[in-house]
């Protein structure tokens, strides 16, 4: 009984009205728009449209697929903000996306030349990561308000979302239609960024544990 009274007193001491999180679809939509924003901005302002804008109908598939995956990643992040929400399994969707993307790229890109990893590839990969990091930052700031559980999975989903933002930006601005260029320096961005975020989170948790010892 005493313990119950203690708990009540503790809770009442900190009692104040709290504004609950917005419905999950609001956050999911917000995260998706955030992922699409750099690509839309580049499309509107760029003089030289990316390869996808100039190639045939199949070339529209990679950006559309990526936007769908960004919406799923956004939903995953929005649900992570509320403990006990149904989860969205990101990995199966990522695998489906990769298979469809490979098919779409094979049908729509040029295989006339297959360059080795060069400055072009490095430039696209770095630019994609930078755009992704700029999207990750506001996503992280929003997630700090929720996402109290499953930090690593949430971080990885945020990485996928940032990576997709980078990929979409590259698709709308890079005019190199070579299959290997796109496969090596565009598609790798949404795969590399979540890995980097995961490694960072694991390193931080290891550091925290070492400090606690």
């Amino acid at each position: 009984v005493n313990s119950g009274q203690d708990v009540k007193a503790m809770l009442k001491a900190g009692l104040r009205p709290r504004r609950p999180l917005a419905p999950e679809w609001v956050y999911a939509l917000g995260f998706t728009l955030l992922a699409l924003a750099p690509a839309l901005l580049l499309l509107l302002t760029s003089d030289t449209p990316g390869w996808a804008a100039r190639a045939g109908a199949w070339a529209a598939a990679p950006p559309v697929l990526s936007a769908v995956l960004a919406a799923l990643a956004g939903l995953r992040l929005a649900r992570a903000m509320t403990p006990g929400s149904p989860t969205v399994a990101a990995l199966p969707w990522l695998s489906v996306w990769l298979v469809l993307l490979a098919g779409a790229l094979a049908l729509s890109t040029s295989r006339a030349h297959a360059p080795a990893w060069g400055s072009d590839e490095q430039h696209c990969f770095d630019s994609g990561l930078i755009v992704g990091a700029f999207v990750l930052l506001p996503v992280f700031l929003l997630l700090r308000r929720g996402a109290v559980l499953r930090i690593n999975a949430t971080g990885a989903a945020a990485g996928v979302l940032g990576g997709l933002a980078g990929l979409l930006a590259l698709e709308s601005s890079c005019d190199n239609p070579a299959f290997w260029h796109i496969a090596l320096s565009h598609v790798t961005v949404p795969l590399a960024l979540p890995l980097l975020v995961l490694l960072l989170l694991l390193a931080l948790s290891l550091l925290r544990r070492l400090r606690l010892r």
Binding site: S3, V148, L212
Partner: protein, 178 residues
């Protein structure tokens, strides 16, 4: 205050002190039974109940009005327990991996405590199966609610409960219990 848990949580978010009283009165015994069913340690269960309330208080704004209350509460409760187990394991033996967390040992209920009828059998189940049985049978949660609270699928929870029942039945037969 005879309201649904969801309504009480919304009132707590609005700063209603009466809702706090009603929630603590209604949920604390359930949470205590949940922790007791998992670890069979009355003192640890009391501490965990307090920690869980503190975390629920901190995470209050993450409850979305209209969402089912039990998965939200139990998702936080089970993470409170996992964090506490990790901390205890670290303190006891330095760093340990999650898959070698200490095994629980069933002890008879202290005087004045309501005994768990299948306590000794529960103690022999793997942690994940024990959790699924405690949530569904002792807490009366639906499979959907357990799946949400544990971040898994309904099928996975159903399988854990099924396997747990099979093991409990086998253990009961082995020991001549009915």
């Amino acid at each position: 205050m005879n309201l649904e848990l969801e309504e009480l949580l919304e009132r707590w978010q609005q700063g209603d002190a009466a809702a706090v009283d009603a929630l603590v009165d209604r949920l604390s015994p359930l949470l205590r039974r949940f922790f007791l069913g998992l670890d069979f340690d009355a003192n640890a269960a009391d501490d965990l109940v307090q920690d869980t309330w503190l975390r629920l208080h901190r995470a209050l704004r993450t409850y979305r009005p209209g969402a089912p209350a039990l998965p939200w509460i139990y998702a936080i409760a089970r993470h409170t327990r996992l964090d506490s187990l990790r901390k205890r394991a670290r303190v006891r033996r330095g760093e340990v991996a999650m898959d070698v967390l200490p095994e629980v040992v069933w002890e008879p209920a202290p005087p004045g405590e309501e005994p768990l009828p299948i306590g000794p059998l529960l103690a022999e189940l793997p942690a994940a199966q024990r959790e699924a049985v405690v949530m569904t049978k002792l807490q009366g949660m639906s499979l959907e609610e357990v799946a949400r609270a544990t971040g898994s699928s309904v099928g996975a929870v159903k399988q854990k409960v099924f396997r747990a029942y099979e093991k409990i039945r086998a253990l009961a037969r082995e020991r001549g219990l009915r």
